[in-house]
């Protein structure tokens, strides 16, 4: 890895920018966590919400605040810190760009939150038409996206100036990864921006009467799948390039890491139909094509698994471990910066298995729109990704605030990870099981008129409430640790771990920095996967739907 531009410490001014993002992210965690707890309690059938609110309002809050706000703010803040650390302190112009991005996102978030809290936008975080929210809800989300583009511009500017200053050299790995994720995000959000600006906003303002539901859902899922990779890639950054340093090992291969990120850029976008497998109006041939492309994403995922196992084993063997799995014992289990993300990695095994099931056309018929799906993404997003983000916070927050993670906090952090794992085993396990028995997602408690099948789900719903309660405890622990690290922990220097590449690894080829090539292939794949289906949808469009407000 290039060490010549690496900052020993993130500059204080850049640190403030990242921390601003993190404050919003952790406020979102507090609000969203409470909503999640309430949902599981309601679904258990033992608890009723007060009359001034309703299940779908709470669920919209939970989905928007955790799925969209927490993630986007944390990721942008984290990537800005990575770039400032590995490519050098931001220039004034770059930092100012970051702040404009932050405030744009924050204003958008406040607008959206007000609309949800005043019950004018209980349309869930996917805001599918023909459910219609107040125009300010869509406008607020638009600002969040525009703000994230401005944050992204700061990253692109910093990358460009690094390349100018270091001609002919591959960019620092973590800067490269942040850039790939930013580019993927920009290409992906064009889809959701298009449906919001050209369909949903004019329609909610009353400028047009009807909306084409299929086109809007397709544009949403053009964005929706890369969205999940936008969440996942920052966790991969930590797994590939930071965790090896924390355990005292080496990055298995710099080229392999870059290769897998490029594959995510190429194959994350032209695959949205795997969320629309049960939808009429899309030719099965195109669904088939996109499912094939989806399965190509399995390749970089398995490359990641291989690379992580190899990193751990090489480290363990260098410490003298023997036998097939002796290296497992050599890993630093007492270090929260490793142990908590590791729980996240473990969760990714059942999460990935579930994902392959979801994407298989026939199996999708078994699980589609059941609570299995919710169980699935509470493993991917709400465990793998979120626990890795927590693990990052345990060193990044004190690094940025000039404090240290004390022994006591480290211990509490490990407890936090374990509490989360236990809570999620209950909640997500029960969700998977109930889903296989047909229990629907996105639905409040109901006995469905005394149906026998619905009665089978109730014990699982109670298990979900038990898990949800334990998870909520985990959230309180996390917030306590965050506040400690941000404001109260003793002053000192906390390391910003950046991995080095193993000696045996091959030299990184420059082709990875050829953005004309990679973005070109990305666009070609998108055009290939979407052009004809879109023409079909528009040529055979129905008259469209009026808006519905059920809240």
């Amino acid at each position: 890895m290039n060490t010549n531009s690496m900052n020993p410490k993130v500059d204080r001014r850049d640190g403030k920018l990242t921390m601003a993002h993190f404050y919003v992210a952790f406020i979102a965690l507090a609000i969203g966590g409470l909503a999640g707890l309430l949902q599981t309690l309601v679904r258990s059938g033992k608890f009723q919400l007060p009359t001034w609110t309703g299940y779908y309002q709470i669920l919209t809050l939970h989905g928007v605040v955790l799925g969209l706000v927490l993630t986007t703010f944390f990721i942008m803040g984290f990537q800005l810190a990575l770039v400032s650390k590995t490519s050098g302190t931001f220039t004034r112009k770059q930092r100012l760009t970051g702040w404009i991005g932050f405030w744009t996102m924050t204003i958008g978030t406040i607008m959206t939150a007000i609309m949800i809290l005043t019950n004018q936008a209980s349309v869930l975080y996917t805001f599918y038409a023909p459910l219609q929210a107040h125009a300010l809800f869509y406008l607020g989300l638009t600002l969040v996206i525009i703000g994230s583009w401005i944050d992204g511009a700061a990253i692109i500017m910093a990358y460009t100036s690094w390349r100018k200053a270091n001609p002919g050299k591959p960019s620092p790995l973590l800067t490269f990864m942040s850039l790939v994720n930013t580019l993927m995000w920009i290409v992906a959000t064009i889809g959701v921006a298009a449906t919001v600006l050209f369909q949903l906003l004019p329609w909610s303002l009353g400028l047009v009467d009807r909306v084409d539901v299929l086109v809007s859902r397709t544009l949403f899922w053009y964005f929706g799948h890369p969205l999940v990779y936008f969440w996942l890639l920052p966790a991969y950054m930590a797994w590939y390039a930071i965790v090896p340093k924390i355990i005292g090992g080496k990055i298995f291969s710099d080229s392999l890491a870059r290769m897998s990120f490029i594959l995510f850029l190429l194959f994350s976008i032209p695959v949205g139909f795997h969320h629309q497998l049960m939808e009429p109006g899309i030719d099965p041939a195109w669904k088939f094509l996109q499912v094939i492309l989806t399965f190509l994403v399995v390749i970089p995922s398995l490359m990641t698994a291989f690379s992580l196992f190899a990193t751990f084993e090489m480290y363990g063997r260098s410490k003298g471990s023997t036998g097939l799995f002796g290296w497992v014992k050599k890993l630093p289990w007492g270090d929260a910066r490793f142990a908590v993300p590791f729980i996240g990695m473990l969760a990714f095994i059942p999460a990935g298995a579930g994902g392959i099931i979801n994407a298989s056309n026939q199996l999708n018929q078994v699980v589609h729109n059941t609570i299995w799906v919710t169980g699935h993404f509470h493993l991917t997003l709400a465990t793998s990704v979120v626990l890795t983000f927590f693990g990052i916070s345990y060193w990044l927050v004190p690094h940025l605030t000039g404090r240290v993670l004390t022994k006591a906090m480290n211990k509490l952090a490990i407890i936090q990870g374990v509490v989360w794992a236990i809570g999620m085993t209950f909640m997500s396990g029960a969700m998977h099981a109930a889903g296989l028995l047909g229990a629907p997602r996105r639905s409040s408690f109901s006995t469905y008129g005394g149906s026998e099948q619905a009665a089978e789900w109730i014990p699982y719903q109670i298990a979900q409430a038990v898990g949800g309660t334990i998870l909520f405890l985990g959230i309180i622990l996390m917030l306590y640790i965050f506040v400690n690290l941000a404001f109260f922990a003793p002053k000192g220097e906390e390391e910003f771990p950046v991995g080095e590449v193993a000696d045996q690894a091959e030299k990184t080829p420059m082709v990875f920095e050829n953005w004309k090539l990679w973005l070109g292939i990305t666009v070609l794949l998108i055009l290939f996967a979407y052009t004809i289906p879109f023409i079909d949808m528009i040529q055979n469009a129905p008259i469209g739907s009026k808006g519905y407000k059920f809240f």
Binding site: F306, F309, E313, G323, Q362, L363, D503
Partner: protein
């Protein structure tokens, strides 16, 4: 920055590659788990539809 190492071969160390047997076993176990869960739901599908 001075780069005294330039021109020096990087692959001169012939020390034996570390064994990655555990990694091989791990990815096989992982693959096995993926197949078993997939088949589980597949048989559920066959059963129901």
């Amino acid at each position: 920055m001075a780069q005294p190492e330039i021109g020096k071969k990087t692959h001169t160390k012939v020390e034996d590659q570390p064994s990655l047997k555990g990694t091989l076993a791990s990815v096989f176990l992982l693959g096995f788990f993926l197949i078993v869960t997939w088949l589980g739901v597949f048989f559920l599908f066959v059963d129901r539809f």
